[in-house]
């Protein structure tokens, strides 16, 4: 006869679940509202989403650090908290993009906003756990929502992108499951700390299996973070999604990916598996360099930004590989700074989005579209120029500080060659960012007589987002130090 199992409610430590539950509840609320009253204006849903995200954020701030909950699968450590904060704030800013002045297909569906909140909850689960199964569940929840949101854009390109993303994602999920299986087989646990413990105890025998599991995991997250050679979906997906969603994809899912990679691979490297470090080194260098070189030859600004995001992700991967406390605090510093600037750049693309306007038989945002922009719309051109030179890492704007910090952490940890490669890559990157600046400031306009196209999709809230991004970018010199204190505190709390 089965024994009756009783679990006291306190042992579940339910408060650890509250943030995610708020997001899920938000999604459900939106669906229920739609059930009762059809054809409500999108702005209601946007505001509801922001409301729930704000509550979510509040709940995250309220979390007590370093506790476990819900059958010990939840792990609330510093890195979980800070990554959730970053993701929620970025999501809140990106959902404002939906306040576009033109009507788009996807925003007509309340499901879009519900999916958005489910996706956020998924990412939150992913970062707040060290249980391979829960991470997987979170990952898939988020990914499936994302695929669907992409398709809702309802253009041939977006179907194509979503199918590609989905197929690749399925394959990555397969690798993940395979890897988790091997780890389980080796150690009899799906808890990361347990896995490391057992691996260490057994002296990593049999080594080949440990490596196979690690490789499969690497492939899976290589896909998620779009590192070379698993990046191929990136540009197509960016191109197929709306600029708003592309901006989102370039920032938020990667935060979740970074956290899991930090948890798994820094653990493995710390255990002393040098091989992982070498492989990561190679991947980092390839990702930074090749993505930069490909970005050079793009004809479309969005695709260029896609490759540039890949390259920036490579920078952050370098910090993960270095793994010192300085590097780890730098990861979030870099990504926060990058998030705001990238937000601005994609927002500029998004406000210039005009349905049915064609500048090129294939691309929505060819470089030519921005030619001579400074004559037609000086403020817009200056803004875009600002984001471009910031992405290129020109002082004193935000990303410069992130780069300096990461490169100095590389030097301090003795990775001199890596530091040099990082510097060289920053130089190459300046080339393609400045290409857009050259188009905007030095070429003759060809898009038409007036500059209205550049603000075709603008609305007050989009301008506010742009203003926030620009302000943050310019004034970052004053924020860098507090942000760094903040990230260092949380990273130190979780022992990285």
């Amino acid at each position: 006869m089965l024994e009756k199992i009783t679990i006291p409610l306190e042992a579940l430590n339910l408060p650890t679940l509250i943030p995610m539950l708020i997001a899920v509840a938000g999604g459900l609320t939106i669906l229920v509202v739609d059930l009762f009253k059809k054809d409500l204006d999108k702005s209601l849903y946007i505001v509801l989403s922001i409301l729930f995200l704000t509550m979510d954020l509040g709940a995250v701030f309220d979390l007590e650090l370093n506790q476990r909950g819900f059958f010990n699968v939840m792990l609330i450590d510093g890195i979980a908290v800070i990554s959730q904060i970053v993701m929620i704030i970025a999501s809140g800013l990106f959902i404002l993009f939906a306040f576009s002045s033109q009507r788009f297909h996807e925003y007509r569906y309340p499901e879009f906003f519900a999916l958005f909140l489910f996706m956020t909850a998924g990412f939150q689960f992913m970062v707040a756990s060290d249980n391979l199964i829960l991470i997987f569940v979170g990952l898939e929840t988020a990914s499936l929502s994302l695929y669907t949101m992409m398709v809702l854009h309802n253009k041939d390109k977006s179907f194509e992108a979503a199918i590609k993303y989905f197929t690749m994602g399925a394959m990555a999920a397969g690798f993940y499951a395979f890897s988790a299986m091997v780890f389980y087989g080796l150690t009899g646990s799906v808890e990361l700390y347990k896995i490391f413990e057992v691996l260490h105890m057994r002296g990593f025998e049999p080594m080949i299996l440990v490596l196979v599991a690690s490789i499969a995991m690497l492939v899976s997250f290589g896909f998620k973070l779009a590192v070379v050679p698993f990046h191929t979906w990136g540009p197509d997906v960016y191109e197929g999604s709306s600029a708003a969603l592309a901006g989102y994809i370039s920032v938020v899912p990667k935060v979740a990916g970074f956290v899991v990679v930090i948890r798994i691979f820094e653990g493995l490297i710390n255990l002393g598996i040098d091989w992982i470090e070498y492989i990561l080194y190679g991947i980092v260098v390839l990702t930074m360099t090749l993505a930069n070189i490909w970005a050079l030859v793009q004809n479309d600004v969005k695709r260029m930004l896609a490759y540039s995001s890949i390259s920036h992700a490579g920078f952050v991967m370098a910090a993960i590989m270095i793994g010192t406390t300085q590097a780890n605090s730098g990861i979030f510093l870099y990504w926060i700074l990058f998030a705001f600037t990238n937000l601005g750049a994609f927002a500029m693309l998004w406000v210039s989005h005009k349905r049915d306007a064609k500048y090129h038989e294939r691309f929505d945002h060819p470089f030519e579209k921005f030619s001579g922009m400074v004559r037609l719309m000086p403020v817009g051109a200056v803004m875009m120029g600002l984001f471009m030179i910031t992405l290129a890492g020109v002082p004193p704007f935000s990303i410069f500080w992130g780069k300096v910090y990461l490169i100095s952490s590389a030097v301090n940890a003795g990775y001199i060659v890596l530091a040099i490669i990082m510097v060289l890559n920053s130089a190459i990157a300046a080339y393609y960012y400045l290409k857009l600046v050259v188009h905007m400031f030095l070429k003759e306009p060809i898009t038409g007589r007036d500059g209205s196209v550049y603000m075709a999709n603008a609305s007050t809230s989009l301008k506010v987002v742009l203003g926030i991004a620009a302000f943050f970018t310019i004034a970052s010199i004053f924020f860098v130090s507090p942000i760094l204190d903040f990230t260092s505190f949380y990273m130190a709390m979780s022992g990285f």
């Binding site: 590609k164 690749m168 394959m171 080594m207 490596l211 492939v219 698993f230 191929t232 070189i293 050079l296």
Partner: protein, 623 residues
């Protein structure tokens, strides 16, 4: 007292920012009124501080905040109001107030009215920082600030090619000199470990003379640029392209005297290195003479006055160089009053003549602008050094110093210059206000300036007349900080003769100017005008030409050479090569991104396989 200090310092800044808000909008008289009242407020505060010190009050010294704290270097943002700086503050704010009010009339039809007042007040702020700072770095900030404002104001009518050129010339000349000044400041920090005046000057006595000499030379190079001393003098005459109130304020009364102020401020340093002092005095005497000769023949009313400014700055440097710092400061103050007056008078004339500057086209204008004529004659008498006008007292003291310290050659040069000064000032007065009304031939219809502009000038006129009588009070006041200058016993016996001789030559100069103009319109005959000396002087001793040939042209040649050979062929080629290489690599490998889903999946699997192979190899070898 701190409140007065901050008011005096920041009121001009507030005015500048206020006017700056309206910088791009059309003329608004409010900006003029607000900036003028704020400058006046600053003047009143300076007056309070002055009176406070005059009545034996404490020197006001504040540290507003920490400014630069890097390692051992600690430079607080501090200000000091002592006897010297309060004198400077009073002069600066007084002339600024007058010029601000005057400008409301002078610039009334100008499109950039608001912008003008913004710049002008910004200048006053920078000048206040310069004179009030308690350390060399703050002084340097003010120094650069006035340079910037001077650039903005000379080039105020930026659509005029000549104005932008003159602005750039002034700026670049000053930058060259500023390099010297910076080196001086570095040397000070290097040797004394501080930039605070009091800390530095308390240590100079124990320091090696060679080092002090170098510091003195480099600081003086900075002073030469700002005060337009030979060979960096060319910019001052060209700076007359700016609006006339600017010339009065910046290029006569205040900014150009910053160099003299620096020498006075660093008197503890310069009194230890008399050789450098002697060099300064000699250069000053040379410039006094040199500039006066150029003023003799020039036909541009503003340029004549500009050369005269140059010449008077030379006088100040003679006094400063010979250790008579209080006399240099005294001449600085009196000169500020009468020279600003002279410039503003010239502004009235220019305005009446629709910006015509050629004095040969004027004449007989006293009939239409009597008050301006009187004001300018007062200023010219003061400049020529006629008793009882202000210039008499201060200039005479300088000549006395030169004679007393046995520098008879310097005295001789200055004595001749005094005659030249009297001559050229009255040549201008005669050609403009007396004689035949030549302007009628050119179709001008001059008219007197606004009443309020004349009223604004009146305080300067009063001071140009009476300032000299306060010599003793001035002496007692500033020697509270500055060293005394001890005249020898013998000088007392010859003072009477010296004054007589100097007044004699001044009166002779005036006489020649007056009579030659009566005898022949235009002062110089055609025969004289074809004389080599006349042409030599008219071409400014051919110095601009020499600069052009010796510096500008070879520099352009060198630049072209470097551009064609080094930059294009080596630097550009290398950079382009790298860029091309990267671009080609990108083009060749972009095939990886074919957009084909099957290919994408294959890449993933290929990556996985590669990693797997590496893993196997690693495990095999590590066992």
């Amino acid at each position: 007292m701190e409140l007065f200090l901050y008011t005096a310092l920041f009121a001009p800044l507030a005015g500048s920012l206020f006017a700056g808000i309206f910088g791009a909008s059309p003329k608004n008289i409010i900006t003029g009124l607000v900036t003028s009242s704020l400058i006046f407020l600053s003047f009143v505060s300076s007056l309070f501080l002055f009176v406070h010190l005059y009545n034996g009050g404490e020197i006001v010294h504040v540290e507003m905040m920490d400014w630069i704290m890097a390692g051992d270097l600690s430079v607080p943002f501090g200000f000091v109001v002592d006897n010297v700086s309060s004198t400077m503050m009073l002069v600066v704010t007084l002339v600024s107030t007058v010029v601000h009010i005057y400008s409301m009339g002078y610039m009334e039809h100008d499109k950039g009215f608001n912008r003008f007042f913004s710049y002008l007040s910004a200048f006053v702020f920078s000048m206040m920082v310069l004179v009030m700072s308690d350390n060399f770095l703050g002084l340097f900030i003010g120094w650069e600030g006035v340079g910037l404002c001077s650039w903005l104001l000379i080039g105020f009518w930026y659509h005029k090619e000549s104005a932008t050129w003159a602005a750039n010339e002034a700026f670049i000349m000053n930058r060259i000199a500023d390099l010297g000044m910076l080196i001086g400041i570095f040397l000070i920090y290097w040797n004394f470990g501080s930039l605070q005046y009091d800390e530095v000057f308390s240590q100079v006595a124990e320091t090696d003379t060679t080092i002090l000499t170098w510091i003195g030379i480099f600081l003086f190079i900075g002073a030469m640029g700002k005060s337009a001393q030979f060979p960096l003098h060319t910019w001052l005459a060209d700076a007359m392209e700016g609006p006339t109130p600017v010339s009065a304020l910046i290029h006569a009364a205040t900014m150009v005297t910053a160099g003299v102020y620096l020498v006075i401020r660093a008197n503890e340093l310069y009194s230890l290195i008399p050789e450098v002092g002697y060099f300064i005095a000699s250069l000053g005497a040379f410039v006094a003479f040199f500039a006066a000769t150029m003023a003799l023949v020039n036909r541009d009313i503003k340029r004549v006055i500009a050369y005269s400014t140059l010449s008077q700055l030379g006088y100040m440097f003679v006094a400063g160089g010979l250790g008579a710092y209080w006399i240099a400061l005294f001449h600085l103050a009196t000169h500020a009053f009468f020279k600003a007056l002279l410039f503003l008078g010239a502004g009235n004339v220019m305005h009446a003549m629709d910006d015509e500057l050629n004095i040969m086209k004027m004449g007989g204008m006293r009939k239409v602008m009597g008050w301006t004529a009187i004001l300018m004659i007062v200023a010219s008498l003061a400049l020529a050094g006629i008793y009882p006008f202000a210039g008499f007292f201060s200039k005479d003291k300088i000549l006395e110093v030169a004679f007393d310290s046995n520098h008879y050659i310097l005295w001789g040069v200055l004595w001749v210059t005094a005659g030249l000064t009297a001559f050229y000032s009255f040549r201008v007065v005669m050609l403009v206000f007396f004689g035949k009304e030549r302007y009628k031939d050119f179709g001008f219809h001059p008219h007197e300036a606004h009443k309020f502009m004349l009223w604004a000038m009146s305080p300067l006129a009063v001071l140009a007349i009476i300032a000299g009588f306060f010599e003793h009070q001035f002496y007692n006041f500033v020697t509270g900080v500055l060293p005394h200058y001890n005249f020898s016993e013998e000088i007392h016996h010859v003072v009477g003769q010296l004054i007589l001789v100097t007044t004699g030559i001044a009166l002779t100069g005036i006489g020649i100017a007056v009579f030659s103009n009566m005898y022949r319109e235009g002062v110089f005959s055609t025969v004289l005008q074809n004389n080599f000396i006349y042409r030599f002087l008219d071409n400014q001793w051919y110095i601009p030409k020499i600069y052009d040939e010796v510096f500008a042209k070879p520099y352009i040649e060198l630049s072209t050479l470097l551009w064609n050979r080094v930059d294009v062929k080596i630097v550009d080629a290398t950079v382009d090569g790298i860029a091309k290489f990267l671009h080609t690599t990108g083009e060749k490998t972009r095939g990886m991104q074919s957009g084909n889903l099957s290919h994408m999946l294959r890449w993933v699997v290929a990556g996985f396989t590669l990693l797997l192979v590496l893993a196997v190899v690693y495990t095999y070898y590590s066992i």
